[in-house]
Amino acid sequence: MAGKIRVVIAKPGLDGHDRGAKIIARALRDAGMEVIYTGLHQTPEQIVETVIQEDADAVGISILSGAHMTLVPRILELLRGQGAEDVLVVVGGTIPSDDVAELKRQGVAEVFTPGAPTAGIVDFLQARVPV
């Protein structure tokens, strides 16, 4: 079935830094994707529930609170538990390079740090999500 890429943009954790998440959400929508933005302060459980309910192809996790090494692995684990390990997981935020390597090892497809152009994120999703 030819269709639009469905992406959940998710804000886990307690911080309210939503500038990046909103810019990405809008850029992906402008590129023709279906975007579901969760809003702020989501638990990993809430995020995974949204991904499943929305039958998303990909989830973009925006995190700037420093809690990425706790929250991202938890989201990956919950996705696996739901049999949704085929959902492409990308992360954006202030993530030190050592942590980038570790997150990728655990199954994150890509990590975008501050300054990453939205066009690169669009291209990445279009290349990696089969539609």
């Binding site: 943009i9 954790g13 307690l14 911080d15 309210g16 830094h17 939503d18 500038r19 998440a21 909103k22 810019i23 959400a25 809008r26 850029a27 929508r29 975007v35 933005y37 969760t38 809003g39 702020l40 302060h41 638990t43 609170s65 420093g66 809690a67 090494m69 706790t70 929250l71 202030t94 030190p96 390079s97 740090t113 501050p114 300054g115 152009p117 939205t118 066009a119």
Partner: protein, 532 residues
């Protein structure tokens, strides 16, 4: 290379610039629009001698890990010539959760210091004489509780509340608008803020109960004019609530202070501070009838723009921060925080923080910009930009009034939409190459050096969780229950000031999370409708 055809000549916020400004550009009446520094409408500064009289306070924001780590950083900064303290709290504290709450997992001590109870506050300020320092605390929804903790530490040191000097942010309106660290719905939040304003007017004459903040509005992607307009509109809203409470405007207005961003568009930032002072003085006098000259003075803290820092070629951030800091000084700030160059990657290391502080010291002692008050006053360009930002701010005030005021506009997502729009416009300009960000879309480096960054030891979270659990086991549980019951009872009644019950609950070591839970039970919580 870009030609003049595709280059933008507008400010970073999109204000169009003329190729040249002349005596005909401004239409400035010196007495009416500027005045000498220290004179109405204070466009040129709030004090006659400005930095000749006293330099700005160099106030670096710090906080991470547990209270004892941050206490060490405080002592380090005081030893290196810093003149005021500024406390960053971690996300669970800002959101009203104790460190052992499930929502706190992974967040304890990450973005600031974890403070669960008076016991942590005692550790945080151990060995620091509260009668001699001024302390700034960046916290909003639970501000009343942290103020109560601080007041109790003062009492333990033998320093009465009337002698405590400092500022607590408390600016809940900009949380709904931009920073999004809210707990309760807007109306009960505003009631709690007004309780603090009333309490401080009566009992803490040297304390600033609100720091009305544009910083976070700008960091969320707003323009300079939006930062200016929304911050002032919020300020007027606090004034209106306090007047509605029955307070005389001159009993609290002198203690209101402000907090602005210093972004990269040098002259636009300076114009923003000048317009802010003029608008505040004019409206306070004309609309709210303030008579005390101190009620008209907009005194403000500035922080350089975190949002302008790049993860690419991070050393370049030192240059950005220096230019932003210079704009803040030329704009007449009363205190300043300079960001560290590694903050697009993590919390700053000690070396990076020292360099940021040194940046301020160079401006203060080596550049000569402090030798005369408002050196840019009368610049055709700066005065024209000041007028333009003022005009844009009054336009926004009209739009907000038409929506029924700030609280109504928050509920309609007005501010959130305006900011999202501005931030997307800027990002599009950068991505199209029409705005240059050095190292990001021009002059990139192939190999980025690895930077040493501050790591928060994950064991700190466990330590803090154990600490709060041990506290709960050791304290007088019945006294805590009684104090929380009184807090709930008073929260349900609009005619009670909640500061009294909060101080009582703090003294018996009720935790911050328990007090917030008590208020959640009575007031409910807030959730915004996400827009993008």
């Amino acid at each position: 290379m870009a030609t003049t055809h595709d280059r933008l000549f507008s400010t970073i916020s999109g204000v169009e610039n003329e190729p040249l400004y002349t005596p005909e550009s401004g239409g400035v009446d010196y007495e009416r629009d500027l005045g000498d520094p220290g004179e109405f409408p204070f466009t040129r500064g709030v004090y006659p001698s400005m930095y000749r009289g006293r330099l700005w306070t160099m106030r670096q924001f710090a906080g991470f890990g547990t209270a004892s780590e941050t206490n060490e950083r405080f002592r380090y900064l005081l030893e290196h010539g810093q003149t005021g303290l500024s406390t960053a709290f971690d996300m669970p504290t800002l959101m009203g959760y104790d460190s052992d709450h499930p929502r706190s997992l992974g967040e304890v001590g990450r973005e600031g210091v974890a403070v669960d109870s008076l016991a942590d506050m005692e550790t945080l300020f151990a060995g620091i004489p509260l009668g001699e320092v001024s302390t700034s605390m960046t916290i909003n929804s639970p501000a009343a509780i942290l103020l109560a903790f601080y007041l109790c530490v003062g009492e333990q040191q033998g320093v009465g509340r009337e002698r405590l000097r400092g500022t607590i942010q408390t600016d809940i309106l900009k949380e709904y608008i931009a920073q999004k660290e809210y707990i309760f719905p807007p109306e009960p939040s505003m009631r709690l803020v007004t309780d603090m304003v009333e309490f401080c007017a009566r009992e803490m004459p040297l304390w600033h109960p609100i720091s009305i903040s544009g910083y976070h509005i700008r960091e969320a992607g707003s323009t300079a004019a939006q930062e200016l307009a929304f911050t002032l509109a919020n300020g007027f809203t606090y004034v209106e609530w306090a007047i509605a409470r029955g307070l005389d405007v001159d009993s609290f207005a002198p203690r209101l202070s402000f907090f602005f961003n210093a972004h990269l568009d040098f002259f636009e930032e300076i114009a923003k501070y000048r317009a802010a002072r003029r608008i505040w003085a004019t409206v306070m006098r004309e609309r709210y009838g303030a008579k005390n000259p101190r009620s008209l003075l907009m005194r403000f803290h500035t922080q350089t723009a975190g949002v302008s820092l790049t993860a690419q070629q991070p050393e370049v951030n030192i240059v950005r921060t220096a230019i932003e800091a210079l704009a803040a000084v030329l704009g007449g700030t009363q205190s300043l925080h300079t960001n560290s160059f590694d903050e697009a990657l993590a919390l700053p290391t000690e070396d990076a923080v020292r360099l940021a502080l040194r940046t301020q010291q160079v401006i203060a002692h080596e550049t000569g910009v402090v030798n005369t008050a408002d050196p840019l006053g009368g610049s055709y360009y700066v005065e024209a930009l000041t007028n333009e930002l003022e005009r844009q701010a009054y336009d926004y005030f009209d739009r907000i009034d038409k929506l029924g005021g700030v609280v109504a506009a928050i509920k309609e997502n007005f501010f959130q939409r305006e900011i999202a729009e501005a931030s997307f416009r800027y990002q599009s300009e950068v991505e199209a190459g029409r705005r240059v960000v050095v190292g990001v879309n021009r002059h990139q480096s192939e190999a980025e050096p690895e930077l040493e960054i501050l790591r928060i030891d994950p064991a700190l979270e466990r330590k803090q969780v154990e600490r709060v659990q041990a506290l709960r086991a050791a304290r007088d549980g019945a006294a805590v229950e009684a104090a929380l019951a009184r807090l709930r009872e008073d929260a349900a009644r609009d005619d009670r000031n909640l500061m009294g019950p909060i101080v009582e609950a703090s003294r018996v070591y009720a935790t911050m999370g328990e007090m917030c839970d008590a208020l959640r039970e009575v007031w409910g919580t807030w959730r915004e409708t996400p827009v993008f």
